[in-house]
Symmetry: C2
Amino acid sequence: MARIKTDKNVSRKDVIVTKAAVLFREKGFKAASMRDLAEAVGVEAASLYNHIKSKTELLHELCFGVANRFMHKIDEIEAEPGTAIEKVERLLRFHINEMISHYEEVYVSDREWKHLADPYLSNFQNQRRIYRKRFAAIIENGIRNKEIKKIDAPTAVLIMLHAIGGIESWHRSTQKISAEALEDNMITILVGGLVNR
Amino acid sequence: MARIKTDKNVSRKDVIVTKAAVLFREKGFKAASMRDLAEAVGVEAASLYNHIKSKTELLHELCFGVANRFMHKIDEIEAEPGTAIEKVERLLRFHINEMISHYEEVYVSDREWKHLADPYLSNFQNQRRIYRKRFAAIIENGIRNKEIKKIDAPTAVLIMLHAIGGIESWHRSTQKISAEALEDNMITILVGGLVNR
DNA sequence: AAATCTTACTAACAAACGTTATCTTCGCTG
DNA sequence: CAGCGAAGATAACGTTTGTTAGTAAGATTT
């Protein structure tokens, strides 16, 4: 009987959730089975249920973990002083870093949230909608003080957020440029597309 | 016994493939069942197999249909005269229009190709890799004649392609700007992020 | 060392899945 | 209108799925 190994401050549930993120990213939520997950953890499938309530709970955990981090960040950025362009850049850099260093969870949260069940689904969609509105509001401010080109702000948000999803391909790529170079390139292109000159 | 309705020049298989695209987009390939599809088509699940070989065949059909269209387009654009920026813009406009007018298929091809089985999977991944290389080569040309900023071309490609995936959100959105406005906004931001000035 | 709580295993379930085999019915062609 | 091929329905199959119940073994506390 091989127990799930844990370091200090990491519950067995955390181990499971982390492995689930990897699996959900690789195969997708529906295609990843609890037996797959059990094998990855080194345990029988049924044993997982000593630590979690259901497969969907794993998805909740992942999606809302990520969503909360982004919400806190935009709170922070809205409160800070700075031009609109500076705020957009800070937010983008945060997105990029999250996608680089918490790849699995962010990716899963981005692509697999559809499989959440109500009421979590509606809740998640709401948070997402609100987040985008707040992001768009920052851009609209920038348009008003002529920092930013006259563009449709929601469209700009949509481009920014999805562009960052492309880091997925960077992760897969064999000949990666450095994470810092990736970040700077993305900022150059994306912010360069916004600024008015 | 209610037959599948077909117009002229549209086989019953085409009807099934088209409905499958809608379903695969809504629920994902794995979560969409053949019984779901049968219901959407207005027939029993087993009856579908008079027209198709397997569920996966539907995915092949969709993924390679889309991939081929993009391959032909980039052939065309490479052969045409024009600056690098013009070529990038043409390619982007094509992507945007495909995403707007063949939403379901393009979306499915983009997000669900993972569930292809070999040898189709490797084949598809190859095509994708080659396409991106050719796109990157156009951008690299632009960098050489100083039309385009000094950026990492593969990163630029990755941003462009994923940004366009954001049109998904536009489709869902209740207060849509017009398709033309969407296209122009995207071009402004994306091409604006590339040009050297 | 005894008692208790935690964590794992085995066995099994009901439901849903893709798919096949068999038979019936519809619609067209001669 | 007879006959044939295309297209549908019914029933069933073997898997795989998420999950539960009951039990044994390890870890921790008394």
